[in-house]
Amino acid sequence: MVRGADDFPVREEDLQAYVDGLLDVDRRAAIEAYLARRPQEAERVTSYRAQNLLLHQAFDAVADEPLSAPLDELKRRLTHAASRRHAVWRGARWVAAAACVAIVTSASWLGYERLFSSMTKEGPPVAFTRLAIDAHGLLTGDASPPLAERGAEGGNALVGWLSQRAIQAAKPAPDLKRFSLELGGGRVFLLGERPVVQLVYRDKQQQKLSLYLGASPDGDHQNAFTFVQQGELSTFYWRQGKLEFSLVGRMNRDELLAIAKAVHDQLNIATSGQESTPDPGKSGSLGSRIPHLTDEAVMSPGMPANERGGVTKTLMPPVK
């Protein structure tokens, strides 16, 4: 074990996590300072990062090939099996979702968030970015359920709903037409216990870009854009007032940053000058305003298979 820039012990697993873009900003900076003074280590780490890129260059073509007839049929049946069983759970999920909203509104948004932020080992930016990358992977994979809300109207409804509860101002989904990106739709995820809205944009080549919005657990904050590269996926994370964002796409850093800035600017006008104290009377009826929180919309992509539990359990933690 060796000492890093600020006397951080730098372990091998930190370097690996750095390679995979899993470190938070501070830790990453420490590793970079550490590597700056150790050219051999830097060379090694750079070569590991190159391996990740090479993996994609070598095998991504496979993912683009059409499925064989048997695989296609199996996929169809699996999708069907999932949705059929979902029907059984739909009622339970609705109740759970409604309960979740009730808890959030009664326990107050920030208090609730603090309660649960201590349960996650990763810092919020890391957790949020991981969710975004995982969810984006799910979305672009074939196994993903259809979007809960289609088209720009659906996206606007979801962003309006989330921004209403976070900053008391219903905002429309960011307009990215000048990047030739059309809003395809959106859906709601749960990150831990808090809803996160995913918006999906597509360009003319049907390349997808996801924007995630969540209500920031630590309240008001502004921070710089944080860039994470995982394989070919680039992610920008930033916070803006009470909202936090992750932008995920298969594009280079500069392209994605330009889009991130556009999103930031469009929502910036929104977050400033709209600060007001929550109105309990208003938030009490939020449940009814969730736009189509269907079973497809409620899912936790980041949860390992063996930690899965009943939906109700996940949605309704023991809150006092």
Partner: protein, 177 residues
């Protein structure tokens, strides 16, 4: 699901074997409909099934003495090398193919499929510390092979390869934070 096939192709080095493996995986998932319906992370679930089938098959090959590494067969069946494929990628694929499977699975799940360390541990049924040490060693083996094995270009010190190898062996099997 395309990620599943990509992973299988990368693991086995052969599209036909991979197709077969993914098919069996999906059939098994379908046969456990009650589980499938409740699984939250379907992707990790499918990877777990895929891995289990793969391990079973390897064990079967060994039991029945058909000790033909799939990779060797794959070399014969493999589609003719793409002339346009960059030399670097071809070298990389070769280096990957020679990697012991325990390391290959971890590198592919994490580096190619973006599976988290925790999920990889669940999928492969090993502690997260093992994942970390396999990842570290596997990437280092790959790097050396890409560098030509004998000469590390990261500045050679004293007794070169031996010193590096022993350093690698000393890497602790770290546990989860």
């Amino acid at each position: 699901m395309t990620g599943l096939r990509r992973y299988a192709v990368a693991l086995l080095g052969d599209a036909i074997e991979a197709e077969d493996l993914v098919q069996e995986c999906l059939v098994r998932a379908l046969s456990r409909g009650h589980v499938w319906a409740r699984v939250r992370d379907r992707r990790a679930y499918l990877f777990t099934i895929l891995h289990n089938i793969h391990v079973d098959r390897r064990a079967q090959y060994r039991r029945h003495g058909i000790h033909v590494p799939i990779d060797d067969v794959a070399a014969q069946l493999h589609s003719p090398p793409n002339q346009h494929e960059r030399l670097e990628i071809r070298d990389f694929k070769r280096a990957l193919k020679e990697l012991p499977e325990n390391y290959k699975t971890v590198i592919l799940l994490i580096g190619l499929e973006g599976i988290t360390y925790r999920q990889a541990a669940d999928i492969l049924g090993v502690p997260i510390g093992t994942i970390m040490s396999r990842l570290s060693r596997g990437r280092e083996m790959l790097r050396r092979r890409m560098n030509g094995g004998t000469h590390g270009n990261g500045g050679t010190h004293g007794n070169g390869a031996n010193a590096e190898a022993s350093t690698l062996e000393e890497l602790p099997e770290v546990e989860a934070k």
